[in-house]
């Protein structure tokens, strides 16, 4: 069973991302978390095959969380979801080996991320 971790403080955003994943892979398990700490706590539930992480969250931002996720699971594909389409942020995400996924999320963007992650 493939599990995907979705981390966003906005319920609307979690629903949009989860909806896109479910449209592509109805049989996958989606674990959602509301912030970075919640996400790290949920890793024990099931090891995710990929993580989709919002950048702009209260507390730990998405890049910091991506760093923590990578420490624990160095091969984990991480997509950084953000409306903040500035080149500086894109560069930081790519330096961490993360995919940069501009919001709003669409099925095509999620499909491209999974394909790039070999899923």
């Amino acid at each position: 069973m493939t599990t995907v971790l979705v981390v966003d403080d906005s319920r609307l955003a979690r629903e949009m991302v989860s909806g896109a994943i479910a449209a592509l892979h109805p049989d996958w398990t989606i674990v959602t978390a509301v912030d970075g700490d919640d996400a790290l706590n949920r890793l024990a539930e099931a090891a995710p095959a990929a993580a989709l992480v919002d950048f702009n969250m209260p507390g730990m931002d998405g890049l910091t969380l991506a760093g923590h996720l990578r420490e624990r699971m160095p091969q984990l594909p991480v997509g950084i979801l953000t409306a903040n389409v500035q080149d500086a942020l894109r560069r930081k995400a790519e330096e961490l080996g993360c995919r940069f996924i501009p919001k709003p999320v669409t099925v095509d963007k999620i499909r491209t991320f999974f394909t790039g992650a070999g899923l």
Partner: protein, 205 residues
């Protein structure tokens, strides 16, 4: 002005915050190119407060008399209301000086007025345009106007509570910072909910 509908539940507030979060992305990137450095945005908050409190909070240490530079405009659509980009005066002039080196001519000067009106136009109308596209609606916005003066004179002192979205923005270097405020009257919460439903459905389609 009609009384805002305060029957905004947590799900609606969350959706409003996320739509403005997405809406600010492109205009912040445009500003970032103009100033040549990253622009840092806060997580949007959706709150009910009085204008007087909003004014007093621009420079909390000084309060409602704090000098500010602001660009203000009204808009109508799935949301109607007033959009404002407010800078503490010093921070606003620092931004002007970055855009027009040596040109900051005081809060009432022509250069400050021109430069900040243009920034306000990019940020406020850019955000409202993205927002309109997201909900597949149309938001009409007027030409924004520039005002400088004490925060309470610029933002107002009305004691009626208003629903507003707040997003703080800052240049990464710390040179300047300001705040985008969208004071909302929700014309039709139902049409807004329909728009959100379409959006969630569209992402899954």
């Amino acid at each position: 002005m009609t009384r805002p509908d305060f029957a905004v539940d947590e799900a609606a507030a969350d959706a409003i915050a996320e739509l403005f979060n997405i809406g600010m992305g492109e205009p912040a990137a445009a500003l970032s190119v103009m100033v040549g450095e990253p622009v840092v945005l806060s997580v949007p908050s959706v709150t009910v407060a009085r204008r007087a409190d909003i004014a007093a909070d621009v420079v909390p240490a000084v309060g409602a008399a704090a000098p500010v530079c602001a660009v203000l405009g009204s808009f109508r659509g799935p949301f109607s209301g007033e959009a404002m980009l407010v800078f503490p005066a010093g921070a606003g002039l620092a931004l002007v000086d970055r855009l027009v080196p040596g040109g900051a001519d005081g809060p009432d000067g022509e250069t400050a007025r021109d430069a900040l009106t243009e920034i306000g136009n990019i940020i406020l109308n850019g955000c409202l345009a993205s927002f309109a596209n997201l909900v597949e609606g149309e938001v009409e916005s007027g030409v924004p106007c520039y005002r400088a003066g004490p925060a309470d004179q610029v933002i107002g002192t009305a004691a009626d509570p208003v629903l507003f979205v707040r997003i703080d923005m800052a240049l990464e270097s710390g040179l300047s910072h300001g705040r985008a405020l969208f004071l909302l009257e929700i014309a039709s919460l139902d049409s807004f909910r329909d728009a959100v439903r379409r959006l969630v459905g569209g992402a899954a389609a």
